[in-house]
Symmetry: C2
Subunit: 124 residues, 2 copies
DNA sequence: TTTTTAGTACTAATTAATTAGTATGTCAAG
DNA sequence: CTTGACATACTAATTAATTAGTACTAAAAA
């Protein structure tokens, strides 16, 4: 059975990336990184992380005074869901047109292709 | 120079797909197709197509009483922009992790790979 | 000619996503 | 003990996306 749409909004994704990278993070951890990228309030980050928890992307437990957030699911699963959603939405579910585009736009060249050929060989 | 972010919202994309398919379409054409998929008002479709025109995705000219809308840019260019945006947002711009995911999740198999190998050979 | 139909223009309500303010509590430093 | 730093909870404003209503116009049908 096909798993339920698993898709993060852009800002949610930005935060999840940081949490995945670190394994676990507090609001402050995330806030400090985001602040270097753009103007943002501490409470904004807090709200977003609470939303991510509500939606089931993050789990929290108290560490000292603050909450420590961890991913509730492996990154690969969530990213996989996003790829699936993208392919469904843009290409009605078929991968091939995506690959054709990648090749034609030169995002995918001989070298990349070699890597992936090896990957498929390994995984079969 | 990297072209500006070219990205359609889900509903915009749904409409653009229909216009691309037909080459040109009136509000009514699109409305009738969408109505079979879900409950939607004629004026909703009209508003969306007007927005798409404002954003530069569609051009219109009058045909009899109604406007006939045509794509302002080739589909490949717009879809290419969406792929680029997705890869930037999800994979910080590198294609490889996308391919790795596709292979591991079995969305991409030996057969797909053969096709694309041939494509790359042709395009080089 | 009157009425109906099909279309547009303009306006606005609703929902989701994003952002952030205010009140409050607690711990630690002075 | 009081003050400041830091955290959460709760509330709310803003913006973008989506949806649709109402008024009006022109053509077609009766």
């Amino acid at each position: 059975m096909r798993p339920k749409h698993n898709t993060l909004t852009p800002q949610e994704l930005e935060i999840m990336k940081l949490v995945w990278q670190r394994g676990a993070a507090t609001v402050r951890d995330v806030y400090e990184v985001l602040l270097q990228r753009r103007k943002i309030a501490y409470t904004t980050v807090m709200t977003m992380m609470k939303i991510l928890e509500t939606k089931g992307y993050l789990k929290k437990r108290r560490q000292d005074r603050a909450f420590l957030y961890r991913p509730a699911h492996p990154k690969s699963q969530i990213i996989g869901g996003m790829i699936r959603e993208f392919i469904d939405r843009v290409f009605n579910g078929s991968v091939e047109p995506l690959l054709v585009h990648l090749v034609k736009s030169r995002h995918l060249n001989e070298k990349d292709l070699q890597k992936i050929v090896r990957l498929v060989e390994e995984s079969e």
